[in-house]
Symmetry: none
Subunit: 155 residues, 2 copies
DNA sequence: TTGATTCCCATATTTTCCCGTGTTATACCA
DNA sequence: TGGTATAACACGGGAAAATATGGGAATCAA
């Protein structure tokens, strides 16, 4: 069992008539080795699907419980938003998942989907939308060189 | 055997003439795998039914014991409200539960109910009411991004 | 008995499983 | 180094299983 696992790379896969998509083999390996499951939900900030391991959401659930009052409105809204949208996705014997229509619609995905690694998370985009987004991000990175220290402090 | 048990997703089910509702299959799986039971009660803060595993209420009981004075009025009220209202709901062989009228009335549920995952808990709403509530929460989340983003990054 | 609750069966739909095939990637050998 | 054998992968399609949901019979209580 390896100690570190990161969702990486960018993989383009087809979405078949039944709505099935192959989860990239590397991602499947992570699921198997961690014994966790993939969870997907609509990104709050972009027209894409976001995914991570269930472990991560479990950690989030614990954090919310610990940091907010059991009956607080804040906790209510936050958990509704996060967990109401998320769903476990187990892949079949050939490595495919079936994404909910709600998610596909949000990401404008029809017949193809592109998986983009983000470390502990990953995103699933409509390929054309991702192409534009990547350009934008790279251009911005050239102007404002990203600060690792800043990100490090926040996390 | 998985390690994490989170109520997730949003699923719409019918309430039949006898008052029966299918508990989402994912929720049933959690009950089976944990060996605990589903407990439901009227939400203290919203017109909906709230549910969780009996284990969680046990944890809540411990928290109340630890955090409030044994004879405090506050504790009295809280325990009355929660435990006086809560009830165990076991599902039949086809996976359905029969919610008490008291709960259905509180949530204005008649012929359809929507289950909303909240991590350790879940809620059951009248579908139209939930649609409005979700819009409200999402709109608020987009305005006040920081708190969500902060938790999101921490996890 | 009347009303309510539980249990069981039937069915349409959705989801999952499984097999076959072509393609790509990896390993191996001369 | 070039070429071939082997394995892994993506993906189409049909079969099998699971799920939601309606209805009836059996059980129980007031």
């Amino acid at each position: 069992m390896r100690k570190t696992f990161l969702f990486m790379d960018t993989v383009l896969n087809k979405v078949d008539a039944k709505g099935r998509v192959s989860l990239p083999a590397d991602y499947r390996a992570i699921v198997k080795e961690t014994g966790s499951e993939i969870v997907c939900y609509r990104s709050l900030s972009a027209p894409c699907i976001e995914g991570c391991l269930e472990d991560l959401l479990d950690k989030l659930a614990t954090q919310i419980e610990d940091s907010l009052d059991f009956f607080s409105a804040e906790q209510d809204d936050l958990t509704n938003l996060v967990f109401g949208d998320a769903k476990r996705y187990t892949f079949d014997s050939t490595g495919r998942i079936m994404l909910a229509d709600k998610l596909l619609k949000h990401a404008q995905i029809t017949d193809a989907a592109i998986f983009v690694g983000k470390g502990r998370k990953f995103q699933i985009w409509n390929p054309e939308n991702w192409a534009k987004e990547e350009q934008k991000i790279r251009a911005a990175a050239l102007k404002h060189r990203p600060s690792v220290r800043r990100l490090d402090n926040e996390a």
